[in-house]
């Protein structure tokens, strides 16, 4: 006979203000199997836990029910307390009378009645609980970082620093990401490449770091501590081990019309190319869309000129399988497409550019060697208008509802750099609000206004008109003066909203982790677990989780590394004992459970069964690998013969809960 104890928490006034906790514990005392019931202000507190421990010992309890907040909050706390008092931790059930009851109801009588039902339901379940023991699984002491921008680079360096091996998988031909494209960084205006490229070199030279460039994630299997990942190494048609980065091939390549992605397509590059001077690895890659040899079979100049013999036109995509204990997603961002913003004439005029394009126009390694020239006629622009929030804070459906966070600062940076370098230029900035919180950030923006005389105009731009004289007429509103204004400009710069790199959707699916409506990956807790994904063993660094600048991204990357190191130092992980188990006598080997298992935990074995009378038969039955099963329960509801059940959540327990709820 089970002996159940029930503990009702007030949660201060969170529960007690709406639920009559005294009445709940009084009514529950009368329930069959219940030998003890009480209530207390904070069950999760030291004192509250002591009440539970004492009751377990004093009343010889075989199972307990806590009526409190969601089990996501404190189930672990109460299980630990039970274990300390000698009770199996899986003999604890939590009835959620806060989120599911007191917080969502107003009527005290109704809420009290519902709380009683919820507690009764938990009692019905715990009566059928059985003691369970946690298993153990080993930890592969190697980490995977997806994305080789500043987020991925910093994470990898920190993990390697602690002595663990780490692989960076980067889809482009070089690591470096967006930060490599940026000219100067706010608020200190130091050169972006100068602070980034030493870190890129550190990655390349670190024995613990393996850079898999021009590679993508193909599939992911397993679970925390035990991921098996297949990586597609795309054919770059150049042998990475042989290429010396001498660039002779680039001098002779006759195909010169490929758009230069690194320079935001503002100039061209050869079909065989190294993305930029400081690329890591400093190895060429052939663009198959542009290569004459790969398209027509006739050419082969680069192979002829390559003294290292690195060119291989027959190269195929290669698949590598590796095992990891932890995975960090650092896939970064891209500026949004401006298809929905025809009013800014981005497509109609070459002189309407995005801020990232301006970065390249101002960079010494950019298409104009760092001289600011108008794209349409290479003239020096005298009037430059910046438009902020292009697609950010946009609830019309054309853009993104969120603030992209970095634009106010980089626009102030652009305005100042232009006024510094070309003092005869007039710079105007249209803004909705200027948002510059952060150390030395607001001071930075004020410098643009006060020292550099940048013309900040509160208001949005309605339209940019390309005029017959080649200039751009910017029509906007000045909300402080309450008037419509027109500015004839030579160059218009759009502070374009940023969005997560689109490939993150596929990666999120492969990792079975969640993503929000704007394609940002979801963190486990917005305040207390910001760098972990809800899927154990998956961590998030940089803009894949939300808009952020370089300093914040680097902090987040180091935080991820700390979490990963904390995981990899463990030799073994405790595994959840609430996993599926097959009743072999009922299983007919139909394979339906294996088909729905998202973790590949179910396989089939041939097993001999006694039939009586000395006869035996060999049957095919399902087998659940306890190290791989995650206890999701998909197999249990699929099995047509009810042969598979989830420990701790058996069909019998769930039916018993349902019956209790339905009982008058």
């Amino acid at each position: 006979m089970q002996r159940i104890g029930v503990f009702i928490c007030w949660c201060g006034s969170n529960i007690a203000a709406t639920v009559d906790v005294e009445k709940v514990s009084e009514v529950i005392k009368q329930e069959k199997g219940v030998v003890f019931a009480t209530n207390y202000q904070y069950m999760c507190s030291e004192n509250g836990q002591q009440i539970i421990k004492n009751a377990i010992k004093e009343y010889n309890l075989t199972g307990i029910v806590i009526g409190s907040c969601s089990p996501r909050m404190h189930e672990a706390t109460f299980r630990k307390a039970a274990q300390a008092a000698g009770l199996n931790p899986y003999m604890v059930e939590v009835a959620n009378i806060r989120e599911h009851c007191s917080w969502i109801h107003k009527d005290r009588a109704e809420a009290t009645e519902k709380a009683i039902i919820l507690v009764r339901t938990a009692i019905a379940k715990v009566l059928l609980n059985t003691p369970l023991a946690e298993g153990e699984s080993p930890v592969t002491k190697r980490a995977l970082v997806i994305g080789g921008g500043i987020a991925g680079i910093q994470t990898a360096l920190d993990i390697a620093e602690a002595g663990f091996e780490v692989d960076i998988v980067e889809k482009n031909a070089t690591i470096g990401g967006r930060m490599a494209q940026i000219d100067k960084t706010f608020p200190t205006l130091d050169c972006s490449a100068c602070i980034l490229t030493p870190k890129m070199v550190d990655c390349a030279q670190n024995e613990k770091i393996d850079i898999l460039s021009y590679s993508e994630i193909e599939s992911v299997q397993g679970f925390v501590g035990n991921f098996t990942v297949t990586i597609r190494k795309k054919a770059r048609y150049v042998d990475e081990n042989k290429c010396t980065g001498c660039k002779v091939c680039m001098q002779y390549c006759p195909s010169k019309k490929g758009l230069n992605e690194f320079n935001m397509n503002m100039n061209t590059r050869t079909a065989i190319y190294i993305p930029f001077a400081q690329a890591i690895p400093n190895v060429a890659v052939i663009d198959p869309e542009q290569c004459i040899k790969l398209k027509t079979g006739k050419c082969g100049v680069c192979k002829l000129k390559c003294s290292a013999g690195a060119i291989n036109y027959d190269m195929k995509d290669e698949f590598i399988e590796r095992k990891y204990g932890a995975i960090v997603v650092a896939t970064g961002f891209k500026p949004i497409d401006l298809d929905n913003f025809n009013e800014y004439a981005y497509k109609d005029s070459k002189d309407v550019i995005t801020s990232l394009e301006l970065e390249r126009l101002m960079n010494a390694a950019g298409p104009t060697n760092g001289v600011l020239l108008r794209p349409s006629d290479n003239a020096h622009p005298k009037d430059i208008t910046f438009i902020q929030c292009v697609g950010s804070r946009d609830v019309s459906g054309c853009g993104k509802p969120y603030c992209s966070k970095i634009c106010c600062m980089y626009t102030a940076k652009h305005a100042m750099l232009i006024r510094e370098k070309y003092p005869d230029t007039r710079v105007h900035v249209f803004y909705i609000d200027v948002r510059t919180p952060g150390k030395n950030y607001d001071e930075f923006y004020r410098r643009a206004v006060e020292q550099y005389d940048v013309d900040y105009i509160k208001g949005m731009v309605g339209k940019v008109f390309p005029m017959a004289n080649g200039k751009l007429l910017v029509q906007g509103s000045n909300l402080l003066d309450n008037e419509q204004i027109f500015i004839e400009s030579d160059l218009v710069v759009l502070a374009t909203a940023i969005e997560p790199e689109p490939s993150v959707r596929k990666i999120a699916t492969l990792l079975a982790t969640s993503i929000d409506t704007n394609n940002f990956l979801t963190e486990a807790h917005p305040k207390l677990r910001p760098v972990e994904s809800p899927t154990a063993g998956i961590y998030l660094a940089g803009v894949c989780q939300g808009p952020r600048d370089i300093p914040e991204t680097v902090s987040m990357a180091s935080a991820c590394a700390a979490k990963v190191i904390g995981l990899l130092v463990k030799d073994k992980l405790k595994t959840n004992p609430c996993i599926a188990l097959t009743n072999e006598n009922m299983c007919n080997g139909c394979s339906q459970c294996a088909n729905v298992c998202a973790y590949g935990a179910i396989s089939y074995i041939e097993k001999e069964f006694r039939l009586g009378g000395g006869k035996t038969e060999v049957r095919r039955v399902s087998y659940v690998n306890p190290a791989v099963c995650q206890g999701c329960g998909a197999c249990t509801v699929t099995c047509p013969s009810g042969a598979i059940d989830l420990k701790g959540f058996s069909s019998k327990q769930i039916m018993s809960e349902v019956e209790t709820i339905c009982k008058k």
């Binding site: 025809n342 339209k463 008109f465 005029m467």
Partner: protein
């Protein structure tokens, strides 16, 4: 084929040319525009107010008539088109308006926005087809024409669903079909001054001029519109600067139809 047609007051008075030309062109393509029975005022600006019911009723009556007479309601005046299409959207999605209008008009069966409201230009594009028009051109235009859209056909874009509200192209496509060269200029959907011309004629004049100035600067010989109100403002304010025409006039010319 016959199609239910809603003319509206302007096409029976100030813009009677537009009405006559449109009927003749349609006839050339085998389409007879049949006026709906006892049509009344579309309601002008008033029905677009969100909490209005009474002023929407005459539009609903026209829409309900078309429902049982072919299912389509053809419009030509941009303002009528805007009003009828927006009232129809309300009759599809706003349960309160649907209930009130149906009770008031004692409609049986209920009207719930089933009629398809189409503008004359949409008919030319989707029912006749610009290729067909091109094949029937006898006198190609051979001049540079600026297409001017105004606002009523385009906005609100999620209801009108006429064309890209920032960069529409249907009139340019028509100009090409008629053998003309469309002028690329940036004021093709700017405000003409609309009803402001009653209260502040100077402001309306400024707005109209910015349109024709830009079109001329980009080399336009002529500017066409589909909207009687735009035509009125542009003609009155800038008629001496640039030739202003209804798109139908160009079609009459290119297709060789006698006015």
């Amino acid at each position: 084929m016959q199609i239910c047609y809603y003319p509206g007051c302007t096409l029976k008075s100030k813009a009677v040319d537009l009405d006559i030309q449109a009927r003749k062109i349609a006839e050339k393509f085998g389409i007879e525009m049949v006026d709906i029975d006892k049509w009344q005022c579309c309601g002008a600006e008033y029905p677009t107010a969100p909490n209005e019911t009474a002023t929407k009723l005459s539009a609903v009556r026209a829409l309900n008539y078309a429902k049982s007479h072919g299912g389509k309601l053809l419009t030509l005046c941009s303002a009528c088109h805007n009003v009828l299409k927006r009232v129809n959207e309300d009759m599809r999605t706003n349960e309160k308006t649907i209930m009130k209008a149906n009770i008031y008009l004692e409609l049986n069966p209920e009207y719930r926005g089933e009629t398809e409201v189409i503008h004359y230009l949409e008919m030319l594009k989707n029912i006749v087809g610009f290729d067909k028009i091109k094949s029937m051109v006898v006198k190609p235009l051979n001049r540079k024409v600026a297409a001017y859209y105004g606002c009523l056909l385009l906005r609100p874009s999620n209801v009108m669903k006429f064309d890209n509200p920032e960069n529409p192209t249907i009139l340019e496509d028509l100009i090409v079909a008629l053998g003309g060269t469309p002028v690329k200029y940036s004021h093709k959907n700017e405000c003409c001054g609309a009803y402001v011309s009653i209260k502040s004629p100077d402001l309306a004049k400024k707005k109209s001029q910015s349109i024709t100035d830009d079109a001329k600067a980009f080399g336009a010989d002529e500017l066409i519109t589909a909207c009687p109100l735009c035509y009125y403002n542009l003609k009155k304010n800038c008629g001496e600067n640039l030739k202003i025409s209804y798109f139908t006039a160009l079609m009459m010319e290119a297709l060789g139809i006698d006015g």
